[in-house]
Symmetry: D2
Subunit: 126 residues, 4 copies
Amino acid sequence: MKENILKWVQEGQISFPSVLLTHYKQMNINEEELVLLLHVMAFIEKGNAFPTPTEISARMTVSSTKCSDLLRRLIQKGLITIEEEYSESGIRYEKYSIEPLWSKLINQFLMSENKQQTQNQEKMEM
Amino acid sequence: MKENILKWVQEGQISFPSVLLTHYKQMNINEEELVLLLHVMAFIEKGNAFPTPTEISARMTVSSTKCSDLLRRLIQKGLITIEEEYSESGIRYEKYSIEPLWSKLINQFLMSENKQQTQNQEKMEM
Amino acid sequence: MKENILKWVQEGQISFPSVLLTHYKQMNINEEELVLLLHVMAFIEKGNAFPTPTEISARMTVSSTKCSDLLRRLIQKGLITIEEEYSESGIRYEKYSIEPLWSKLINQFLMSENKQQTQNQEKMEM
Amino acid sequence: MKENILKWVQEGQISFPSVLLTHYKQMNINEEELVLLLHVMAFIEKGNAFPTPTEISARMTVSSTKCSDLLRRLIQKGLITIEEEYSESGIRYEKYSIEPLWSKLINQFLMSENKQQTQNQEKMEM
């Protein structure tokens, strides 16, 4: 029993800003793409920063080909990037970065905040 | 600036066990249903425990009719339930409970853990 | 076994911005006060927004009198406030708000960010 | 403005099971030790798995000597361990593991759950 709870705890939590859930639609992200982004975050958290479409699709209800397409689309939309890094022993490797997602999400959030403030001001001036 | 960060912080975080992300597929949940479950969790967290299909679909890329269908399916699959409660002043109200989801997820997790242990044992006995 | 994991999951997670951990010292908060703040957050999350010093001290290694002192000090420092609200049936009740903590934390964060940027600029100009 | 929110988001969240907050007292952990454990978790999360007492005390209201004492005490209590590992290029390094903390916490949680169930049963039999 104890081992199972320990295993559960070690698997950890996925945590992300609620704003992503309330704003992904405006960012032109659909549900499949959102879940793919969560999978990429989870893999990065676990130390695998460049999961293959096969690894990701093993956890999704879509094929690995569809997974490749979705990844390509997220890169084209500028939500994730592929970064090149060098390991301690000089070997080149690639990894996903989701920093562009947060950057775009903050833009979207600030835009909708400003819009709301303008609307509130207009109401008050009427 | 400060107000915008404060607003962001107040919106809070969505946090759920990683095991949900690695096991929803085996639980016969697809990506659209998973995201709907996350929306229901987020609404409950914010104090709205019985969001309407219209409220949910406003944040999703699916219509409110599709949202109703998805909710019905999740109830049929025994992942969420509708509970009746009475407010302080005696008014009956309904709310979603996602406890069945956690219960089923734990079952799934224990099943896959046991399966893995059996496989490991079999390997050692070979 | 299953019931125990379910209970664990239902107890949930405490989640707060990492910036609090890296900046509480500069905000003139000590470790005892920080933990008290976490307890208040946890009680609020569980629906008890005005825990008594006795309820809090039951979970801490300090007496309930010491707990009262700590709460008073946090209020004096402007980190938490007591808000009055009215229930659905018109009964007045009190609750803690930790919004001032987030507001002060953001100030502290922006101050240290600006300081760092100024230092970087000075270095570049030398 | 945007850069500051991005920086805040990148700093991330600290997240831990609520059970730790409700049970550390019974585990003979005091508030200072709890906060030290949170600092160690935060450093590990950021990729520094063996922070020095000086690095930790820079964020705490205690001296680096006191920090060393606290770390030693946590190791003696069997809550954290120091693990030896080898880097990709064969260099030996040390890192903290907080797995023993979770293991002990689960024990404490199961003990208090069983105790409560026994008490409930006794009440029913009276």
